[in-house]
Symmetry: C2
Subunit: 426 residues, 2 copies
């Protein structure tokens, strides 16, 4: 039976989960995969943590050179996260011909080309299923399951923290700050939640997923990004009245005008399969020209779900000799000729406060009409007195037209303030 030695760089949540899966399933993998996988080395400064997991002292190291040069190590699992020192460690492993399996979305989305160039040079494998949507095999699906398709649309709920927060806000009518605190207490949000709630994490993943889906590098700086920190419970409630659920969506579209990639809160119809993706669950919805609509659903984070993706890659690397690289001419940029759309099209939910309803509505509608924006739905709250909220939903229109129109709306005498603008998708 083939023997494969693994090194794990970092025994955090994901590293610990990966170790446990490999330790507890060794015989299962021998039987079902025909390969004997052992953890030969771990890089971890906190020796006690490693010992507590039952790792032999001789296999614990705080020296990356020692770990990589270990002749028993064939595959290096990087689960440190962030750019440095992860990047140097991964490059060092690849330079010495070791296959790398990583869960590091930030590193991968920013330096994919550099990592792959290094991998190709030594014919090392480079696997990254765990970087996106945890144990849900979305990368494998894009690479090995959807090849027959020109993918037109990829829409996902790909950040667990924000989905947990929005689900609770929707259920309880609570405010963002309150739910965030509760999420932090329960471990669903980090002490510094910015990477999740500002949409960075989702943007990293969207850059990776849309690059694979559209077969061209989609650089991070092309991803429009907006987080959930400004979401107010009354908007969620008004949306519900109109039949919508609020989600932080990651949207990639590949159409005639070019590629459109964006992360932002959006209302979706409550009947759409993505609307039922609640709490910390994630899902990715794909539209291919042959397969039509498909959706993959599962946990987007956690020690064992992410460990599942890493070990899946380790087994794949251990049982396949072919290495299929996936990047796009090893460039940090999109290929020449690929266009990106910024003035994307959407429908819009707009809430504003009117001084005098009758007068304000007519004037607002007039301004919108000037920019080619027509109204499809309307809720008016309260009596016909001063300072009342008005909610409207537009037909599909252009982003820039909405922004320009709302500048004018805000300046109207009868309008106290434009309070919320939320895109309405699917």
């Amino acid at each position: 039976m083939k023997s494969v030695g693994v090194a794990i760089l970092g025994l955090g949540v994901v590293g610990g989960g990966t170790y446990k899966i490999l330790r507890d399933h060794r015989e299962y993998f021998q039987r079902t995969q025909g390969v004997d996988i052992t953890v030969e080395s771990v890089l971890e400064i906190n020796k006690e943590k490693a010992l507590a997991l039952g790792i032999e002292e001789g296999k614990i190291s705080d020296n990356i050179a020692e770990v990589i040069s270990n002749p028993n190590v064939d595959i290096v699992v990087e689960v440190i996260g962030g750019v440095e020192p992860a990047k140097s460690f991964v490059l060092a492993a690849l330079h010495s011909g070791k296959t790398v399996v990583t869960s590091n979305k930030e590193l991968f989305c920013k330096y994919w080309h550099e990592l792959e160039k290094a991998a190709k040079r030594t014919n090392a494998g480079l696997y990254f299923e765990a970087s996106c949507v945890s144990g849900v095999p979305i990368i494998r699906t894009l690479i090995d399951g959807m090849q027959a398709n020109v993918i037109e649309n990829l829409t996902g709920i790909i950040n667990g923290t924000t989905n947990y927060i929005l689900t609770r806000m929707s259920r309880e009518g609570s405010g963002y700050e309150e739910v965030l605190k509760e999420a932090q207490r329960l471990g669903y949000a980090e002490a510094d939640p910015a990477a999740d709630v500002e949409g960075y994490d989702a943007a990293y993943k969207l850059s990776i997923l849309s690059s694979l889906a559209f077969h061209t590098k989609v650089p991070l700086d092309k991803v429009y990004r907006e987080g959930i920190t400004d979401i107010r419970p009354q908007d969620i409630a008004y949306g519900q009245e109109l039949g919508y659920v609020l989600k932080l969506l990651a949207i990639g579209k590949n159409g005639q005008n070019g590629i459109e990639v964006r992360v932002h809160p959006a209302f979706i119809r409550k009947e759409h399969p993505l609307a039922a993706v609640s709490d910390s669950f994630n899902a990715v919805f794909l539209k291919g020209d042959s397969v039509g609509d498909i959706m993959l659903y599962g946990r987007g984070a956690g020690a064992l779900p992410t460990g599942s993706a890493i070990v899946s890659d380790v087994i794949y690397a251990a049982t396949h000799n072919d290495i299929k690289y996936t990047t796009f001419k090893n460039s940090a940029q999109a290929e020449a000729g690929v266009k990106f759309v910024n003035d994307f099209r959407s429908r819009y939910y707009i809430r504003f406060t009117a001084k005098d309803k009758a007068g304000a509505l007519a004037k607002v509608a007039g301004v919108l009409a000037k920019y080619g924006i027509s109204i499809v739905d309307l809720i008016q709250k309260g009596e016909d007195c001063e300072d009342i909220p008005v909610i409207l939903i537009t037909h599909e229109t252009n982003e820039y037209a909405v922004r320009r129109a709302l500048d004018k709306v805000a300046a109207l005498d009868d309008v106290v303030s434009v309070d919320s603008v939320i895109r309405v998708e699917v």
Copy 2:
């Protein structure tokens, strides 16, 4: 660039879809997959059909030996369906070292071992993604995405025809026969619908999927099977009152007592992700010990979705040199030591007609209690007169206990008839 020649056996719905995808995406596959795939031969008696698709006359044949011996053919796509002549054709292709891609669930589930033995002998590839759930990459996921997991549960809606019929019956309150006729008129059901509505099609797929999930051959004759032909609209309506949706489920469980595989109608909670899988859509829900719950959703049939799965396999075969066979000691039977459970556990929806309600209920409850079955929910319809329907839902209990208890219930003086028994899952 690598060139790969394909032969398509049978230009029916799926064969036609496969041809169109290969024809229309040739340049796309050259660019994105680095391989030039051409259709070099088709086996089709109806020459006009082939010509109408734009296939050159010289590539159309009605002679299988000629197709297989064509030196330009590397991969043979079998989309004839059924056991013979498909089996002989596939074996002939494998014997001559050609890789086979098939959508044939019946052939594959019955003769997997034989086909694989032949493939191994000549080192030919054998791919079958299209045999289950069409373009949804469930086979690829089980083989290359879920390896890290001991899979405990696989529950799917894996037949589009029955899901379409049950969805319409649920929405409209119509009877089975009426909706079946409409489904036949619209092309969602075959003129002879038995393979779908009696659950054979789902049983074939469940045999394949659970074999992969549980890493042992799960022979077709181990799959308990019950179709939807006896489903009555009033049971769907009563279930809805209790918060359930009726689906034809394919269930595979791998537990301490052994493997349990069954296809039958079942009520599921309306909040469960599978409950939202409507019309001809399919989905498979998996529970792995590491990844937790994941679900794959998409179209379960159709020319292009199934063609997507076939072309995906063709590309995989064309771009990988490694062939990873998946069977289980090339046997038609499960490995020694694998146990199958027939007396499975479930909750039950039971509808019976009572002569005198008060008396009947007490006696029925008494009989059930004797078999260790307790009641969790109850609906009584109509006034306290003669011949009124009573619906009850049990706690989890054993199948055989329910069958024995209901024989006794049917014999009670106060009971006119036991009308419906439907399992309640998830």
